[in-house]
Symmetry: C2
Subunit: 208 residues, 2 copies
Amino acid sequence: MKRRIDYTLYLCTDRSLMSTDTLEEAVEQAVKGGCTLVQLREKDCSSLDFYHTALRIKKITDRYKIPLMINDRADIALAVGADGVHAGQSDLPCTVLRAMLGDDKVIGISASTVEEAVQAQRDGADYLGVGAMFPTGTKSDAEQVSMETLKAVRGAVSIPIVAIGGIGPQNAAQFCGTGIDGLAVISAILSKPDITAAARELRAAFHP
Amino acid sequence: MKRRIDYTLYLCTDRSLMSTDTLEEAVEQAVKGGCTLVQLREKDCSSLDFYHTALRIKKITDRYKIPLMINDRADIALAVGADGVHAGQSDLPCTVLRAMLGDDKVIGISASTVEEAVQAQRDGADYLGVGAMFPTGTKSDAEQVSMETLKAVRGAVSIPIVAIGGIGPQNAAQFCGTGIDGLAVISAILSKPDITAAARELRAAFHP
């Protein structure tokens, strides 16, 4: 059965942002600070490395009973028994993913316009990642999304929405009352010296 | 049901070697010249591009009734209904692929030692790609495999074997009588001005 997900604080991984900790240590610290789900994103490693990393991260998410999503790679998600796949607009189409993964897996789709959001919901997406809300160093080519567009997306679809892109303690409170379900963060947690404290601060700043 | 495969002349794609033709044109010309199966290998494109390319190549392989294998990406293979997946030693493990793909899909594993070959057969591989037999520009980091090792692999496993790496008209005949089932080629076909003639020449030079 499809897992019920708390989207409040959604950690996306990015190894390049991390200082000395291993990814596993960083994820565990973030989860201790209140991250409610984790997305593993690996763009520059072999499939075997991605698989082994995903197995290690899944041990942590299983221990803390939170879901693990895999970015892009449905085969890695199936291989490790992850909860689902998050796909961007350049990844496999939502309908193709649904056919491959079945109804029990969670599919998240990145959207930066109302059209993309409506299409994703129509195609069976379980939630949307909407952004980039603010300029971000993690994805320098990401299209910027205004608060107005975010609100328009919220009005246009009924599935959960997670805002992403440049979100940190300085702007997290802006999303309270917008009707979205969560904030997705990368650098605002992973690049901080105290990862647990950074996650805790974001949990305190945003209430869905 | 798993497809019966003729491994005699196995075309692996590499876009970087091609001159002006589109990949689809090149593959069709190679198949006209006698290639008996095609492996689509895409390392530097988005999942969406890989998927669309695979759909286009599958139209050709379907038309000529030959199998299509996908390199590494089991999700792309499932998405387009390819015949199977070819995995290197840095890709998903054979047992993981088998669990994901079921018994009806073909799984090929790259091996450069007797140990890797025996392990792959034990893990349920349908065939082996053994190489690199000769120095090759396509995979500059590939470990070299001697004719003696190829013969030792042939003696150690019962599944079909395809030799790969630097194989062309100048050395294809060396493989006659070795007991292997096919030759895998990239540049000896795709980098040639007359792709159909290049494939035909290789078919004439090697008899499994």
